[in-house]
C-alpha cells in the first residue's frame, strides 16, 4: 500500500487528453524560452508599430487592443438601446401625439407628458411637456415598441450621460428633440471623438 502511494506520487500524470511531458519539457528551461519568445514577439511587434505611428506611418494598424474610451468610441450594435430621442415631422414639429401609451407602459414611470390641443385639426394633440427622468429609466425600450407614431426612438448611441443632481437628469422635450440619430458605425469599428474637457 505504502509502496503504491509512493509510486503514484513519483509518476506525475498529465491531465487526460494531454501527452506526458518529455524530458526537455520537464527541465523547464526550453519551455520558459518558448514562452519568452511569444511575449517578446508581441513586445517587438507592438514596439515597431508604435515607432511607425510616431513618424506617421501604419496608422491603420493598432499597436494594442486598448480603446482609449473618452477619445475613442467603438461602434455599437444597431439594436442597442441608448439615450432616447423624439423624432420630428417633416415640418420639424414633434411626431408625438401625446397618446400617453409610453407613459402608461413605462415600468419605471419615468415619462411625464402634458398633452395640449394641436392647432391642426387633423392632429388631435401634441405634447406640451415631454420629460424623461433618466435617473429612473431602466432602458427597457417598451416606450419605443409601444409608440404608434414612431415618435420616440433609442438610437442615439449616447451612453455616457450624467449629472450632479437628480433634477439635471430629467431631460425635457427640447433636449430630447435635439438628439441626433447615430447610424451604426459597424460593430466594433473604432471612431475618434473630439471632446473638450
Amino acid at each position: 500500500m505504502e509502496k503504491q502511494n509512493a509510486e503514484q506520487r513519483s509518476v506525475r500524470q498529465a491531465p487526460p487528453g494531454e501527452p506526458d511531458l518529455t524530458f526537455w519539457e520537464r527541465t523547464y528551461v526550453p519551455e520558459v524560452l518558448r514562452g519568452l519568445k511569444i511575449t517578446a514577439a508581441h513586445f517587438f511587434r507592438n514596439l515597431v508599430i508604435h515607432i511607425f505611428h510616431l513618424v506617421g506611418l501604419w496608422k491603420d494598424r493598432r499597436g494594442g487592443e486598448t480603446i482609449q474610451y473618452p477619445e475613442e468610441v467603438r461602434g455599437y450594435s444597431p439594436r442597442l438601446r441608448s439615450l432616447h430621442r423624439l423624432t420630428r415631422r417633416e415640418d420639424g414639429s414633434p411626431r408625438c401625439v401625446a397618446c400617453m401609451m409610453c407613459e402608461t407602459i413605462c415600468p419605471a414611470r419615468c415619462i411625464y407628458i402634458v398633452a395640449a390641443e394641436h392647432p391642426d385639426p387633423n392632429i388631435e394633440k401634441y405634447p406640451e411637456r415631454f420629460d424623461i427622468d433618466l435617473g429612473k429609466c431602466v432602458f427597457c425600450g417598451y416606450c419605443v415598441e409601444v409608440c404608434p407614431e414612431d415618435a420616440i426612438r433609442m438610437d442615439t448611441h449616447i451612453l455616457d450621460f450624467s449629472a450632479y443632481s437628480r433634477e439635471e437628469m430629467i431631460y425635457d422635450k427640447e433636449r430630447l428633440l435635439s438628439h441626433e440619430p447615430r447610424r451604426a458605425d459597424g460593430i466594433g469599428v473604432i471612431r475618434k471623438v473630439k471632446r473638450c474637457t
Binding site: V32, G35, L36, F43, L47, H50, Q68
Partner: protein, 361 residues
C-alpha cells in the same frame, strides 16, 4: 589628495545617478513594457501642460503621491524598528552597486582613474554580504509591524533569499575558478580576450549552465515574479503590508534597485561588463586584421555606454521574464532551490574543476 576625493565623489555621484535613474525608468518601463507585451497601451495620462511623453511623468506623479501620503505606523508596532527597516533594505541594495565596474581605467591628466566606485579584491563576496544584510531589512519590517501576516511574509522572504543566495554563491565559484580572481574589474578585463581567435571570452561561453542558474537565482533574489512570494501584493500578504507612503515606496524601490544590481552583475560576470567586442585600448582590433584607431577618451566613453546598454538589456530581460511566467507555489520554489538548482550548481563546480584540470595537463 583633494583631486582624489573629487574623483571619488564624481564616481559615487555618477554611479548613484545611473542607478536611481534606472530605477525610476524601470517603474516606467515596467508599465509600458508589460502593456506592449499584452497588447495594451500602458500608463499615458499624467501630463504637464498637455505633454505626456508616453507616460514618462508617471514616475514623477508616483513620487509626489508617495511623499505626500500619510506615514502610518500601526498600534503596537515597534516605532524605531518599523521606521528603520525600509532604510536598511534600501541602503544595502544601493551600496551593492558600488562594486560593479562601469568602465576601464581612464587617464585624466597624470592620474589613472578606475571607472568603478571601489575595486575590492573580494569584489563579488561584498555583493553577497550586502544582499544578506538586506534581508535584515525585510525581517525587521515584518517583525516590527505587529502583524502576523507581515511576519509570515518576512519569513517567506528570508527563507527564499537564503536558499537562493547559496545557489548564487555556488554558481559564482565556477566563474572564480575560470578567471582565477574575485575582483569584478579583473574579471571584466579578462573577458576582453578572445576565444579561438574570434569569440569574445565572455563568461557565458565558459559557464553556460552557470549563467542559467545565476540568472534564475538572481531573479529570485530580486523577489519579483515568478519568485514574488514574499510580496504577492494583491493575493498573499507580504512583509510590507503595514507600510504606507514613502516607506512603502522605499521597499518598492529596493526591488527595482536589486533588479538593476542583478542586471549589472549578470552583465559583468557573464557578458563582458564594459567590454565591447574587439574594442581594446587604442581602438578596434578585428580578428581579420583590420583595426580602427580611436583616442583613449572615446574608447572610455564607448565602454561606459556599452555597459549601460548591457545593463538596460538585462533590465529589459528581467522584466520580460517577470511578465511572462506565473508565480511558483511556495513548495515548488523551495524544492527548485534546494533539490534542483543547488545540486546543479555543485555539479557545475565539479565539471569546471575537471575541465580546468584536463586543460592544465
Amino acid at each position: 589628495m583633494i583631486a582624489d576625493l573629487g574623483i571619488a565623489a564624481v564616481k559615487v555621484g555618477f554611479s548613484l545617478f545611473v542607478l536611481l535613474n534606472f530605477v525610476m525608468l524601470l517603474t516606467w518601463a515596467e508599465r509600458k513594457q508589460s502593456a506592449l507585451m499584452q497588447d495594451r497601451i500602458g500608463a499615458n495620462r499624467a501630463s504637464i501642460f498637455g505633454l505626456t511623453l508616453m507616460g514618462l511623468f508617471h514616475p514623477l506623479a508616483d513620487a509626489i503621491k508617495m511623499i505626500t501620503k500619510e506615514d502610518f505606523i500601526p498600534a503596537g508596532a515597534n516605532r524605531a524598528i518599523h521606521t528603520l527597516a525600509p532604510f536598511v533594505a534600501l541602503f544595502f541594495a544601493l551600496i551593492s552597486f558600488a562594486i560593479i565596474p562601469f568602465g576601464d581605467q581612464v587617464r585624466i591628466g597624470d592620474k589613472l582613474v578606475v571607472l568603478q566606485v571601489f575595486d575590492l579584491h573580494v569584489g563579488i563576496l561584498y555583493v553577497f554580504a550586502a544582499m544578506s544584510m538586506g534581508v535584515y531589512g525585510f525581517v525587521m519590517a515584518g517583525w516590527a509591524s505587529n502583524n502576523s501576516f507581515s511576519l509570515m511574509g518576512s519569513l517567506r522572504a528570508s527563507s527564499q533569499m537564503l536558499s537562493y543566495e547559496i545557489t548564487i554563491g555556488a554558481t559564482v565559484v565556477g566563474l572564480i575558478m575560470v578567471f582565477q580572481t574575485a575582483s569584478l574589474q579583473q574579471i571584466v578585463q579578462q573577458q576582453g580576450q578572445l576565444l579561438f581567435g574570434f569569440l569574445p571570452a565572455w563568461g557565458i561561453f565558459f559557464q553556460p549552465l552557470g549563467f542559467i542558474l545565476f540568472a534564475t537565482a538572481a531573479m529570485a533574489e530580486t523577489k519579483r515574479a515568478p519568485f514574488d512570494l514574499p510580496e504577492g501584493e494583491s493575493e498573499i500578504i507580504g512583509y510590507f503590508t503595514e507600510y504606507s507612503g514613502m516607506k512603502f515606496g522605499m521597499f518598492f524601490m529596493t526591488d527595482f534597485v536589486e533588479t538593476v544590481v542583478m542586471a549589472g552583475l549578470v552583465a559583468t560576470l557573464f557578458f563582458g561588463g564594459w567590454q565591447f567586442p574587439y574594442l581594446a585600448r587604442g581602438g578596434f582590433h578585428f580578428p581579420w586584421g583590420a583595426s580602427i584607431p580611436l583616442p583613449e577618451l572615446a574608447v572610455g566613453i564607448l565602454q561606459v555606454l556599452t555597459f549601460l546598454a548591457k545593463l538596460a538589456f538585462f533590465c529589459w530581460f528581467f522584466l520580460l521574464v517577470r511578465w511572462t511566467l506565473p508565480r511558483f507555489r511556495y513548495d515548488q520554489l523551495i524544492r527548485l532551490g534546494w533539490q534542483f538548482m543547488l545540486p546543479l550548481s555543485v555539479l557545475n563546480i565539479l565539471a569546471t574543476g575537471a575541465v580546468i584540470l584536463l586543460l592544465q595537463q
